[in-house]
Amino acid sequence: MYRVVEIEEIKEEAKGIKTFRFYDYQNVEPGQFYMIWLPGVDEFPMSVSYVGDLKGVTVKKIGKGTEKMHGMKEGDKLWIRGPYGHGFKVEEGKALVVGGGSGMATLAPLIEKLNDYEVIIAARNKEELLFTERFKDAQIATDDGSLGYHGFATELAEIMLEENKYDVIYTCGPEPMMAKMVEIAKKREIKIQASLERFMKCGIGICDSCSINGYRVCVDGPVFSSPLLFDMDELGREKRKPSGLKVKI
């Protein structure tokens, strides 16, 4: 069963990234996701980027489904099911939030629930930085140095971890970045939560297409925590194609 929702508002957030707002009565936790069906086109998972009554998803254009969505207008309809999966668990103490690229979409509603935290927003370049307006006090890192720290998010994170004491790290972004953050957290013995992505078919935990080391991203995740993350040897290394074939990342 799908619910049909109408797009209330569309906002261009960064290069190739738009937020779509719609009303949905379901209660959603930061880190959970919807499956969005565009009839005749595709169905795909999208994390919530706004969790109030007026929900939001923030979508990066990367293929035929997301391209179609980028062409939609206010008043157009989305078919949704969910929310699915386990979201972030808010931990005691000071948090370091590390978001790369569209990964910030997933982290944004979490950050709005935290009290004591610092945020790193990272992207390849200034144009692709997401939610720098929404989180004005965030640290910025760009691969090309067009804004903020010149270098990878993980490098900036290491600097900050050296200078301050954090109790927990939350991260979402390109998988190599997340894998590196997990490695850093393990080394420094800090708790970490990461929101993972895998190819999803069912979204409800039965098809096995999204599994990583025997855990389903759609139901057991998408947010996983340490120490489980420390043991996931597929993280950053291997994933499965829609056929189920394991391939290197």
């Binding site: 099911r81 078919k201 069912c202 935990g205 039965i206």
Partner: protein, 301 residues
């Protein structure tokens, strides 16, 4: 008290993971084995890598009624499947390799490969309702079924199970054509279709899908009862098993074991352990010592 035999295959309990549900990757299967399943059937594996159909491939009916799926036999191809079997086998429960082909030679080849990889038995998917040239299209042709079963039996030493389709007017004829198998697995999904009236189109990209879950149980139980009435062959009941009462119902109808798929959506992967516990409790209350006493006791002639 829950140990059963399906032909020569021993299972610690009659609760087997059904093909296509959480059995693509070796590590997931291993996790399910650790969670109490008595055996595990792999996803159906074919000759070549297949992506399956485009999303949506699953549709969920309201109120836990069941699912419609047209995954489309997505699979990495038999040549890439050895590692998954080897990892799954660490769970210590029998791994039954499900295979699909378009003719008897393909089935034989696939079965031999599965045996080589270490599978404890083969399940022939003669019943997938939504893939052109495979599954049910083969499974309603009694002569072809007979040939496939015979050929595969000749090629491998491990037990061969034949999984049948309910989308037929006489499942007993098909069962008889597969009588050389070591066990019959009934049923696969029921061919179905759902339309989203707001989208004004079928929900699945493949239009048609296979209907599974709670709602198909009366159809599955009927098929098991029908076959048990006329044949002594081991039967594995599948379709809509969600709780211990469902297992007992299938066994009373004549099943020696059951497979469980869709229930995982609603009960999680602990469903195997939970059912096993409840079955033991029920058996004690009802003074059964051995679960095999239940097999076929509801048959009336």
């Amino acid at each position: 008290m829950l140990q059963v035999k399906v032909g020569t295959l021993n299972l610690r309990n009659p609760l087997i993971l059904a093909s296509g549900i959480l059995d693509e990757s070796g590590e997931t299967m291993l996790r399910i084995a650790k969670n109490g399943a008595g055996g595990i059937v792999t996803k159906s594996i074919g000759m070549k890598e297949r992506e399956g159909y485009e999303n949506p491939v699953i549709y969920e009916f309201p109120e836990h009624m069941g699912l419609l799926n047209a995954i489309g036999l997505a699979n990495p191809g038999i040549e890439n499947y050895g590692d998954e079997i080897r990892i799954a086998k660490k769970g210590g429960v029998p791994i039954i390799g499900s295979i699909f082909g378009s003719n008897e030679d393909e089935f034989s080849y696939l079965a031999k490969k599965m045996e080589e990889y270490g599978a404890d038995a083969i399940e022939l998917n003669l019943s997938c309702p939504h893939a052109k040239g495979y599954g049910m299209e083969i499974g309603i042709d009694t002569e072809l079924v007979e040939r496939i079963v015979k050929n595969v039996k000749r090629e491998v030493k491990i037990p061969v199970w034949a999984k049948l389709t309910p989308n037929t007017s006489n499942i007993v004829d098909i069962a008889k054509s597969a009588e050389n198998a070591d066990a019959l697995v009934v049923i696969n999904t029921v061919k179905g279709l759902a339309i989203d009236i707001d989208a004004r189109m079928p929900v699945l990209s493949n239009i048609y899908g296979g209907y599974s879950g709670r709602c198909i149980k009366p159809i599955g139980v009927r098929a098991v009862y029908d076959i048990r009435r006329e044949m002594d062959i081991p039967i594995v009941g599948v379709g809509g098993v969600e709780n211990y009462r469902d297992v007992i119902e299938y066994m009373m109808a004549g099943a020696n074991a059951v497979e469980i798929g869709t229930a995982i959506r609603y009960k999680g992967i602990n469903v195997f352990g939970e059912i096993a516990e409840n079955m033991e409790r029920w058996m004690k209350e009802n003074e059964f010592k051995d679960v095999e006493e239940l097999v076929g006791i509801a048959q009336r002639r």
